[in-house]
Structure formats: structure tokens, C-alpha cells
């Protein structure tokens, strides 16, 4: 019992220390910078804003819709990118044709696409989902392709030797062998996609953490902006931890 507390304490202490450090630096900048208070709110101001957001239930509402959009976009990206990536990884000739398209589109910010996203997907939920989809799609696709391409030769030889059908080979050999690589792509994609939440909720969305931030910014309520930033940061951190947990579970499950 005491030991468990001790162990948890040992783990959380540096986290708390880190966050306190952040608060202290922030407060120092506020005090030493002599900025207009509305232009750089102090930690206390933001805490009050955050508290109000929580009490009024607004935060939870925004958070819920953001998470909903994120999950839909991310899961869609997963469902499209993984099979496509596995296919492209197994068909190097096709990949050589598709690769330049991917490479050309990947470095373009979703913001640049927004006129076309509005044209095709309207405003509200769908563009936000599409932007999160786009942000998650490329890392997952590329990691799936890379994962499949580096499946050890020996596994492929084994499946030839066992005369597995192409489908059985994909399901039983290629996918699981590529999975650790794909999982790291999935992990990375959570980060990238979550970053684009703000961009996604700029396109006519009326709710969500991204909207909260943009709206607060337009109202020059920078305390709310920071409250939104903290919420996004915390939530991103939790999502990241969740994916990490999932990864570790899979690893344990497979004894690797």
C-alpha cells in the first residue's frame, strides 16, 4: 500500500514539478514583461476562465464535439490508409505511380485546401472531419507502406513454403509483421491530426475546442484562448497516452 503510493508519487512528482515550472515561468513573463493584462493573462486569470468554462458546461460541450470529430476523422483515415498502404506496399509498381501524387499533396497545409473543402464538404462537422482525416491519412499511409516493405523476407519465404493463399498471407503474415510499424504511424498520426483540430474547426464550425480558440481570439479574450490551449494540450496528451497504452497492450498481447 505505502509502496504503491510511493511509486505513484515517484512517477507523478516530476510531472507536477514540470507543470509548476511552466506556471512559474509564465507568471514571471507576465510580471516582468509588463504586458497589458488582456493581452497576456496571468495563470490565475486563465484558471478563472477555465473554471467558468467548466462550471457552465461549455468546455465539456466543446470537448465532446471535438473528440467526436477527431475520432470519426481519425478512424476513417485508419480504415482507408491501412488497407491502401498494405496494398501499395505489396505492389511496388503501383506505388511508384501513386507515390508522386502523395508526395505532392502531403506538404500542403489543410488550410490551403479550405476553399475546396468548403466547396465539396460544406461547413460544420464534415470539413473538420475531412481536415483531421487528411492530417492523419498521410502518416498512417506512409507508415503502412514502409511497414509492409520491411516485412522480413524470411516471413514471405515462409508463407510461400506453407503455400498460403494471398489473402491468408496478408492477414496472417504481412499485416501482423507490419503492425509495429503501422502502430508507430498511428501514434504519430494522433499527434498530427490533433494539431489540425484548430484548423479544422476554423471552417464554419460552431463548436469545438478549435472554434472556442478562434472565437475567443476574435473577441480578444486571450484568457479564454489560453484556457482552450490548455484544454487542447491536456486532451492531446491524454490521447497520446491512450494510444501508447494501446500500443503496449498489443505488444504484450503478442509477446514481442
Amino acid at each position: 500500500m505505502m509502496q504503491t503510493i510511493w511509486r505513484i508519487g515517484k512517477k507523478t512528482f516530476p510531472v507536477l514539478l514540470g507543470l509548476s515550472l511552466l506556471l512559474v515561468i509564465w507568471q514571471l513573463i507576465v510580471v516582468l514583461g509588463h504586458y497589458e493584462r488582456t493581452l497576456l493573462p496571468a495563470p490565475m486569470d486563465v484558471a478563472i476562465a477555465l473554471q467558468q468554462l467548466i462550471i457552465s458546461g461549455e468546455l465539456w460541450q466543446h470537448l465532446r464535439i471535438s473528440l467526436f470529430r477527431f475520432l470519426i476523422g481519425y478512424l476513417l483515415a485508419t480504415m482507408v490508409a491501412i488497407p491502401l498502404g498494405i496494398m501499395l506496399g505489396r505492389l511496388p509498381r503501383l506505388y511508384r505511380v501513386i507515390d508522386p501524387i502523395v508526395q505532392l499533396l502531403r506538404p500542403v497545409s489543410p488550410i490551403a485546401w479550405s476553399p475546396f473543402i468548403v466547396l465539396w464538404f460544406g461547413i460544420g462537422n464534415i470539413p473538420a472531419i475531412v481536415i483531421i482525416f487528411l492530417a492523419a491519412f498521410f502518416p498512417i499511409l506512409l507508415s503502412a507502406v514502409a511497414g509492409v516493405r520491411q516485412v522480413p523476407e524470411i516471413y514471405l519465404k515462409l508463407s510461400q513454403n506453407l503455400q498460403l493463399s494471398p489473402l491468408a498471407m496478408l492477414r496472417k503474415i504481412v499485416f501482423p509483421a507490419a503492425f509495429p510499424h503501422i502502430a508507430s504511424g498511428l501514434h504519430m498520426a494522433v499527434g498530427t491530426a490533433w494539431i489540425f483540430l484548430v484548423s479544422g474547426e476554423m471552417v464554419g464550425a460552431q463548436s469545438g475546442l478549435g472554434f472556442l480558440i478562434i472565437d475567443a481570439r476574435n473577441m480578444i479574450r486571450l484568457d479564454l484562448v489560453l484556457a482552450g490551449i490548455i484544454s487542447i494540450g491536456l486532451c492531446g496528451l491524454l490521447l497520446d497516452q491512450a494510444v501508447r497504452l494501446f500500443e503496449r497492450m498489443m505488444q504484450k498481447r503478442w509477446g514481442a
Partner: protein, 264 residues
């Protein structure tokens, strides 16, 4: 049953193979002839890079020779198949599957019931002495246990021919000795034909009925040494030392060029 006595288990005739890389081509095998009887254990002994793995690969159907003919049980080899199983040096176990599941994979696609699959897998796992570790994953096993699992996975397919590429190279001496004995025991029980690639002279003498000596550039079989002795062959035996010296001298005498390459 009668014609198997006349048709060799494996027959390789005038096999040639070259690899080209960066526009420069290298002859790896040149006019290789091998004939192996059913139930025989034959070792391919040679230095690193002389083409042993390549020859084994071609016999297994994983690669194609440039010219020459390879037959298994009289049938022309064109692609890999279940009649002939390759045991890789790195075992090729799937790390995300347990011992049992790795072995059962080899029965996938056969028209067997779940119970039959499970029974047959369990039988061969017991045969290699892993009945207590069926649910373990490869990463939880020692090297020797991993090699046993791979062996069980190969045997469960009941192949006519087993190809083994340096199967014991990564094991420590004690484990190696134990596994070698066990391989002989299982081979006598299952009557499988084995081609064994190795660069360990002692291993070749201990295990095989015949040792084929391979030399490099281009890879050819320069000598065949029948080992006439009961198996397993005791390493302390005087005859053992005789074979050992003979094989060593074969390598030493194949020209100064070769001796210098040893030093590499």
C-alpha cells in the same frame, strides 16, 4: 513404393546460377551435381559466401537456377511447396504467435478439423520436447527452444525433404550438442530426408551420412565424403578425428589462394 527406391529424393544436374548487381554479374554456382537418396542426411560444407544458401534456396524452389535441372522425388521444382520445408538460420518464427500457434499455422489451408490441427500440432511439439511451453511466445524462449519450435513447425507438415540452413550456428555448444542428438532421433523416427548447410566440420561429421565439400568462385562441389559410422558419431572417436583431418586437409590443400582467404 517400389519406384522411390530408384528415383532419388533429390537430384540436381548441371545447375548454374549467377547474380548480377550494378551491371556486374557474378557466377555463384557452376555445374553443380547432387543426388540424394531417400532418408539420407547430407551436409553441405563450405566457407562463407561459397553459395551454400543459394543452392539450398534453389532446391527449395525459392529461387530459380539459370540452367540445369532440379528434381525432388522425380518432380521438377518450379516453386516452393509443402513437400519440402526450409528451416532458416534465424528460425523464421512469427513473434506475434505462440509456439502452438506458430506450429498450427503450418496446417492452415489443409482440410483438417480444428481438433485434428490441434492434436497434430501438439504431437510434434511434444516430439521436440516443448509440450510445457506451448503457450509461450518466441521472445520468451531460449535460442534452442526457438529452433525446436521451428523444427516442430517443419515436421508437422510431414514433408519428404527438410532443408536446414545452418540450423545450430547461433546456439551455444551445450544446447547445440543436445539438439543435434535430438535431430538424429527424430529423423530416424520420421524417416525424413535432410540437406544440412553448415560451416562447422564437427557438425557435418556428427550428423550426416555424406558430406559434400563446396568451394567458391564459382561454387562447385569438389568432393564427397561418405561418413560410415553409427549415428550419433562420438566426437572423441578416433575415426571422427580421421574424417576431421581429411576434411581440413581438403580445404587446406585447395590452393594457397584458399588458405589466404581463411585468414579473412
Amino acid at each position: 513404393m517400389e519406384d522411390t527406391a530408384t528415383v532419388p529424393a533429390v537430384s540436381v544436374q548441371q545447375l548454374c546460377k549467377s547474380y548480377s548487381q550494378d551491371g556486374y554479374s557474378q557466377q555463384v554456382l557452376h555445374g553443380v551435381n547432387v543426388e540424394i537418396k531417400e532418408g539420407e542426411i547430407v551436409s553441405l560444407l563450405g566457407q562463407s559466401g561459397c553459395g551454400k544458401s543459394t543452392l539450398l534456396s534453389i532446391i527449395g524452389g525459392f529461387e530459380q537456377g539459370d540452367s540445369g535441372v532440379v528434381r525432388i522425388g522425380g518432380q521438377l521444382v518450379t516453386k516452393p511447396g509443402r513437400h519440402c520445408v526450409m528451416l532458416f538460420q534465424s528460425y523464421g518464427l512469427l513473434p506475434w504467435r505462440s509456439v502452438r500457434s506458430n506450429v498450427e499455422l503450418a496446417l492452415h489451408g489443409m482440410s483438417l478439423t480444428k481438433q485434428e490441427i490441434s492434436d497434430r500440432a501438439a504431437h510434434y511439439i511434444s516430439l521436440v520436447g516443448l509440450q510445457d511451453r506451448m503457450t509461450a511466445f518466441p521472445a520468451q524462449l531460449s535460442g534452442g527452444m526457438q529452433q525446436r519450435t521451428a523444427l516442430a513447425r517443419a515436421l508437422v507438415m510431414q514433408p519428404k525433404l527438410l532443408l536446414m540452413d545452418e540450423p545450430f550456428a547461433a546456439l551455444d555448444t551445450f544446447t547445440k550438442y543436445a539438439l543435434q542428438d535430438e535431430l538424429l532421433r527424430i529423423q530416424q523416427q520420421e524417416k525424413v530426408t535432410i540437406i544440412l548447410v553448415t560451416h562447422d566440420i564437427d557438425e557435418a561429421i556428427t550428423l550426416s551420412h555424406r558430406v559434400l565439400i563446396m568451394q567458391a568462385t564459382p561454387g562447385t562441389i569438389t568432393a564427397t565424403i561418405p561418413i560410415v559410422a553409427p549415428k550419433p558419431f562420438d566426437r572423441g572417436d578416433a575415426d571422427f578425428q580421421h574424417y576431421r583431418k581429411r576434411i581440413l586437409s581438403l580445404f587446406r590443400l585447395s590452393g594457397t589462394k584458399q588458405v589466404e582467404e581463411f585468414v579473412i
